[in-house]
Structure formats: C-alpha cells, structure tokens
C-alpha cells in the first residue's frame, strides 16, 4: 500500500473482490438460470418425466399456440390484468390526486390497514374469498338483504362471472398497494409546481393531468410491472379458489403448466408453455418501460 497514491473513493480493484459476489451468484445460477436453460431445452422435447427426452423442435410451441384452451387461458390472464393492474392503479391515482389537496390525520393508520392484503399468502386470501363468494356467504346474504336477490349467485361456479370474481379479489389485494405507492409519490412532488399551475389558472383536473400524473411516472411504472406480472402468474389464487373451473373459464397458463407437467406427464409441452409465459412477461415489461420512459 503506497501513501503516494491519490486515494480514489473506492477500493482498488482486485480480482479477489469477485469472491464477494460468488456465493450470491452460485445460488442464482444454480437455482434460477440453470433451470431456465433446462426448461428452454426441455421445451424443444417430448418428455414424460421418466424415460428419455425426445427432440421435437418447435412442435410443442406450435401445438400449444394452436390449442384453443391454451390461447384462451392467455386471454383470461389479460382479463385479469384489467382487474389486478388497471383498476387498482386508476383507483390509486384518483385517490392520490385528491390527496394532494388535503392533509389527512391518521394517514399512518390508514396506510397500515390498506396494506394488509399484500402481506397475506394468496392461499389465505383465496380461502377467505371462497367463503365470501359462497352461495350462502356474506356477499350473497348481503345482496339479498338489500333486495338484490337476483344478483346473488354462486359466483365462483358461474361460467360468466367466475373470472371477474377472481379478478375482483386481485383488485382487493392490489389497490391498497397502489394507493400507498402513489400517495408516497405525490408527497414528493414539490408544491411549487402546483402553485405555478394555479397561477396559470389550472383547475383540479388540469392539475392532475399536468402536474400529478407526469411526476408519478416512476411509481406508475413500478405499479404496472408489479401488478401485470402478478396477473400473468397467479397460480396460488386460482388453485385455491376455482382450480381453473368451471369448465375452463378461469384457466390460466401457470395452471396449465402445473397440470401438464405433473398430472398429465407432458413435461415438454409444459416447459414450452413456461417459456411462452416468460417471453410474454418480458415483452409486456419492456413495453411498459419503453412507452412510459421519460422523453426528454
């Protein structure tokens, strides 16, 4: 070590510094990257999990994408995106927009409550909502009480309403998160911007679109990515509420992956579906990032 050197703010680079990184990357490579590669390879084969893998090229992809049940499951996921992502974000934004004008006492308390759905296991959430949606559960009994008997029904057993019903559970889980995210973001917006807008004669709505929204760009991106990926994955909730039924009206790709791999012994097909799902998520995330990026 020489005192003659000007000390850079950071250590001199040494190869042994890599030792600090190795443990983390060992786990990451072994249990994330390697399985990803393995899944990719398997997706080009036909395999029942026991005997030899048989190379079939793109056949699994072709079969999956031609399979109406599979493509509708992807459509179902997109429908869920509306409930898991758009609704909570819109609700969160509107509320955050209102928030800028008011100082709330007890915000900490509200925050703590609103965040609760996020911390629960989806299995717990699913079990609870299964009860709420039950034919004689709180929702239907409540509807009957208010004279809306013809609305009450077996929600999770209805071909038309099961998917929105599950989607609504997602809204319940997500909206508190979105709200908190946006309120925190809004509180970071300097008040000068609002004062300037007011001087220009802007009303509440204009304020919202010209000041609030643009400054929440980062938070919106985060919320979108987080909620969209959840909507596309979502195994736990569907498993415990409808199992994909009735019929196939709530089937989603991740459910098909499980069934194909572990119940029907079509591991190659399941792997290809897994890769399709991954590519879908990557594409959507990239789209979100690209279209919402700052354009300076």
């Amino acid at each position: 070590m020489s005192n003659k050197n000007i000390y850079r703010p950071q250590s001199k680079f040494q190869y042994s510094s890599y030792l600090y990184i190795i443990p983390a990357f060992v786990f990451y490579i072994l249990f994330v990257l390697f399985p990803l590669g393995d899944t990719l390879y398997t997706s080009f084969t036909e395999w029942n999990g026991i005997s030899e893998k048989k190379w079939v090229g793109l056949q699994q992809y072709i079969d999956n994408l031609n399979n109406k049940k599979i493509t509708s499951s992807i459509v179902h996921s997109f429908i869920l995106i509306i409930f898991y992502s758009f609704l909570p974000i819109v609700i969160g934004l509107i509320i955050a927009g209102i928030m800028i004008r008011v100082k709330i006492y007890g915000l900490t308390f509200y925050r703590a409550i609103l965040f609760l759905p996020q911390i629960l296991s989806m299995i717990v959430v699913g079990v609870s909502w299964r009860w709420i949606y039950a034919p004689k559960g709180p929702l239907n009994v409540g509807l009957d009480y208010f004279g809306l008997e013809n609305v009450s029904r077996a929600w999770l057993g209805s071909f038309d309403y099961a998917l929105p019903a599950v989607g609504f559970i997602g809204t319940w889980v997500m909206f508190g998160f979105a709200m908190i995210l946006f309120i925190a973001g809004v509180q970071k917006i300097p008040t000068e911007l609002y004062d300037a807008a007011k001087v220009d004669g802007a009303g509440a709505i204009s304020e919202f679109f010209n000041v609030t929204l643009p400054n929440l760009r980062g938070e919106i991106i985060v919320a979108l990515i987080f909620t969209v990926t959840l909507a596309l994955r979502n195994f736990d909730l569907i498993w415990i509420t409808t199992g994909g039924g009735p019929g196939t009206s709530t089937m989603i790709p991740s459910m098909f992956i499980y069934k194909k791999a572990f119940q029907q012994g079509q591991v190659g097909s399941a792997s290809s579906l897994g890769i399709i799902l991954t590519l879908l998520i990557f594409t959507l995330v990239s789209l979100i990032l690209i279209s919402l990026r700052e354009r300076k």
Binding site: Y7, Q10, S11, S17, Y20, I21, P23, A24, F27, Y28, L30, F31, V32, P35, L36, D38, T39, T42, I98, R101, V102, I104, Y110, L114, F115, L116, Q118, I119, L120, S121, M122, I123, V124, V127, S128, R130, W131, I132, K136, G137, P138, V141, G142, W172, G176, F177, I180, G185, G218, L232, D236, W239, S254, I257, Y258, V267, S271, G274, L277, T278
Partner: protein, 275 residues
Amino acid sequence: MNYTKREKIIAHTIFLTGTFFVLYPFVSILFLALSEPGKRISGFTIPNGIYFDNFIKAWNGGGFDTALFSSFVVVLFVVGITLICSTLAAYAFEKLNVMGTTLLFAILLLGLVLPYESIVISLYYTMRSYDLVNTYWSLILPQIGLSIPFSIFWMRASFRAIPNNLSEAAMIEGAGRWTILIRILLPQTIPALLTLTVLLFMWTWNEFLLALIMIQDNEMRTAPLALSYFAGNKRYGDPAITAAAAVLVALPVLIVYVFLQRRFISGMVTGAIKE
C-alpha cells in the same frame, strides 16, 4: 395548500371506505373462525360468543404445529443465507469497483422479472435426481436463488446511500475490504437489512407452488400448503374450521406486520422504485 373542510371530509370518506373494503373480508373470516362450533353460519354474522373450538380442531386436524415449524425453518435459512450473500455481493458491486457490473446487473434483472412458475418443473426434476425432494433444502435453495436479485439491488441501493468519507478514512488507516464492510458499513445498513428481512420473511412464508410440488410428505408441509390440503380435505366440512386454519396461517406474518408495519410498507414502496 388550501384545503377546505369539504375536501377533508371527502378524503376521509374515501379512506374509510377503502378501510372498510379491506377489512371486511378479514373481519368476516375472523368472525367465522370464532363462531360457535357446529352452527351453520351464513353470511356475515356476529358470533354470539367467542369460541376457540374451531381453532383447536384446525390445529389438531391439519397438522399445523409441524407446518408452522417447517415454515419457520425454511424462512430462517432463506432469509439468513440470502442476507449474507446479497450483502457481500452488493458491497462488491457498489464499493469494490468490480469490473463488469453492468453485465452482471443485466443478468440479475432477468431474475427480477422471471416468472418462477416457468422454472419450477426443471427445479423439481433436478431436486429429484439429487434425492432432495421432500426435504427442506428443496424449498430453501431455490428460494435463495429467487430472492438474490431483489436483495442485491436493495442492499446496493443502501450501500450507495452511505457517504464514503468513513470508509475512505479507514482505508487510509490500512483497513482491508472485509473490515470496512463489517465494522463501518454494516452498522449503517441495519435499517435496510431489517426491512429486507421483513420482506423476505413475508415472501418466503407465503410461498405455495414450490411447496406443492416439492413436498409430498405431510410432515414436511409448510403452512400455506397445509392450509390448502386442509381446505381440500373437506371431511372437516365446516367452513368455520377452515377459516380458523386460515387465521392460524396468517397470524405469524400479521404479528410481524403489526410491529414492523412501517418497515413493510416503506420497504415495498421505496424498494420497488429503487429497482
């Protein structure tokens, strides 16, 4: 800022509505769980007394004692090992001027967005070939791997926020990289570590799909898995008992949340953005 009384009322109404909407399912389930055993409950009924019988039946019938224990073991190892590995790596990335960080980050980014439902199949067969299926390791090892990207990014942001004067001073005095990390930087990252612990605890505790696939032995089930099987084996037909079981599974995370909720929320919110 001008705020009129009317706006305040509107805001409070909105929050109260939101709170009601969030709490309704919780309270509904709680009431169901506390209700008189054997009574057929419908709708939202306030129990006429507090009965813990359902909880006892759930505890005994669902093997939740071993399930909670299994969950704790898994969480302990995942959180512990992830914290160590990710702190070391984040330190190297941020403070040790390692080459190729951009590339390594890009690789980590992949893991952040990857849906692990795609890779569980491969994980299962790998674990099986090493005879690790049905062991805690089959749950611990993959979850460490899956938690690494977020944890590294999190800790790196934390290290970045620490000014360099202290470590520079230490370097002048001849302190090595390790000493600087342990003596100087780590104490300053304790809040971040705590928040990360809380987040990892929650995500690992709630993990379901991995357990469904890896664990076939009912002695090794983690809590959410035990709950799912319990709700499925409806010989315990009563929804009230299932509700009690759900409460049991949610309780540990709820308790940690009550005490550390600031950390939870700030963790998820700020961490997500730093991403």
